[in-house]
């Protein structure tokens, strides 16, 4: 997997590159939009992390140019402006995801993962992790053959975690996908819900499936 990081701030570019490399991505860095456009002409990337505020040609303009050239590489926009409408504007311009600065590195990595894997997503209506199953049609959750009662929100949370099984899910990402919040409410809502879900899904069963990654988020996975 090869990812292009377009970021003019040297230090930010550096730790984003390191974090992505640590996850097994090959990473190229471009400090400005024109270089990025040139790079995408010669190299096929699996994903692009694109800062909106760039010297010269800005990120949105790079994105529009890319899409005009029928380049469909998934793009994750980064922005320090955090404009309320910027997210919508970015998605309309053809971005696949949007992350306001300052972001959590784990969140960024998780999103890049999600982007680059998007095409091969599991289309089955029954999600399965170890002996935990979730029927996305009947909303029935079972573990070890026993039914698990879930509230609507818990169901959506579990569905999201199971769809991303094996991948780290950051708090903001969960708030966005499960709660549809486009702001950080500054509450421990996610943590409390995860705790409840863990009681239902993991408490009476082995092995444990729902894991906390300190300072990063949560991951639902079968132990290796």
């Amino acid at each position: 997997m090869r990812v292009l990081v377009v970021e003019d701030e040297r230090k930010t570019a550096s730790f984003v590159r390191k974090a992505l490399q640590a996850e097994g991505f090959a990473v190229d860095v471009c400090p400005n939009g024109d270089d990025a456009l040139a790079a995408t002409r010669v190299t096929p990337f699996d994903g692009i992390v694109l800062d909106i505020m760039l010297p010269g040609r800005d990120g949105l303009s790079v994105l529009r140019q890319l899409r005009e050239r029928k380049n469909t590489t998934p793009v994750l926009l980064l922005s320090a402006r955090g404009e309320v409408n910027e997210r919508v504007e970015g998605l309309n311009a053809g971005a696949d995801d949007y992350l306001p600065k300052p972001f959590e590195l784990a969140e960024l990595v998780a999103r890049v993962r999600a982007l680059t894997r998007r095409s091969g997503e599991n289309k089955s209506t029954v999600l399965r992790v170890a002996d935990l199953t979730l029927d996305t049609v009947t909303h029935r959750a079972q573990r070890g053959g026993k039914d698990i009662e879930l509230t609507a929100r818990e169901y959506r949370l579990l569905e999201f975690l199971m769809h991303s099984a094996g991948r780290l899910c950051g708090r903001m990402m969960i708030l966005e996908k499960v709660w549809d919040y486009d702001f950080d409410p500054g509450t421990n809502l996610v943590d409390v819900y995860i705790k409840r879900l863990r009681e239902k899904v993991d408490a009476d069963f082995e092995p444990k499936l729902l894991h906390t990654v300190r300072g990063a988020g949560y991951v639902l996975k079968e132990p290796a």
């Binding site: 701030e9 930010t12 730790f15 955090g82 600065k101 590195l105 784990a106 919040y181 409390v192 990063a216």
Partner: protein
Amino acid sequence: MTIRTRLTLWYAGVLTVFLLIIGVGTYREIDEQLRHAHRRAPTEHAISETSEMVFEVGLPAVGLGLLGGWWLTRKALTPVSKLTEAITRVHERNLREPLPRTGSRDEFDRLTEVFNAMLARLDDSFNRIREFTLHASHELKTPLTILCGETETMLRDESLSAAEHERAASLLDELRRLARIVDGLTLLAKADAGQVALKLEPVRLDELVRDNFADTQILAEPQGIGVELTVCEEITARGDRHRLRQLLLNLADNAVKYNQPQGHVTMSLRRAGDTAEFTIANTGPGIPAESLPRVFDRFYRGDPAHSNEVDGCGLGLSIAKWIVSAHKGTIQIESAPARLTTVTVSLPLTS
């Protein structure tokens, strides 16, 4: 023409009018007396007639003088009351709108002109403060991004000892808190500068409240706080869904954070005339009267001794207030020590 000249001219006019009345009256009376005097000598009767004349003509003249004076003062002070009325309407948001001028170049017009110039200077200063906050929060984001990123990178370093790991994690927690404060400040600075547009659409308030109620129950459970939704009428209003959810979550989060263990939170949503009224009450320790007017102020924490007990960015209620005002609604808080603390939000319903 200056007001002084104008006043003098008017007063001269009025004086002339009632001097004329007195003059004419006296003249006619004396004339009559003289004609009588040709026939018989002046008597006691003539003297009392003269004093009658003084009362009959003089008193009405004095009355007229008073009326004229009153009219004059009113006329003179009208521009002052008009100016007062206009100045009353001035607040930090409409500094850019100048007070209406008469254009007559008199003292009051000049006063209005000077006042408008002062407003413009104030507006300029306000704008500079707003821009400063906006720029400051932008400028903070880049170093914050780097700090968060580097600390997270450190956390991933497996050669770190458990203690170092713990320290880095605690550092990251504080950095994230700082990031939330900067986020809140950016939002408010943008709102002040009128740069945040609401996405208005018909919103089912009862659905948002029910949703928020479910989340609040979960948030409150660890402290054993009971949450109740007493009334939830079906109400549709025009609003920004995201912002309204942020508002509800903000208020609910406060109601839980500032509560006591085993306390209660009570919510309701009902129609009140042409507004939708949402209330949320909690059994926290209450807010002293002197703090009450300031709870919506940015970073206001009340009793400084307790300010560190509750984790938060200190901007929650300011953001809540902004969201409500942006929807042309009102938000009120009622509280007293050892009494229920109730926040009431009223949003206008347009049919």
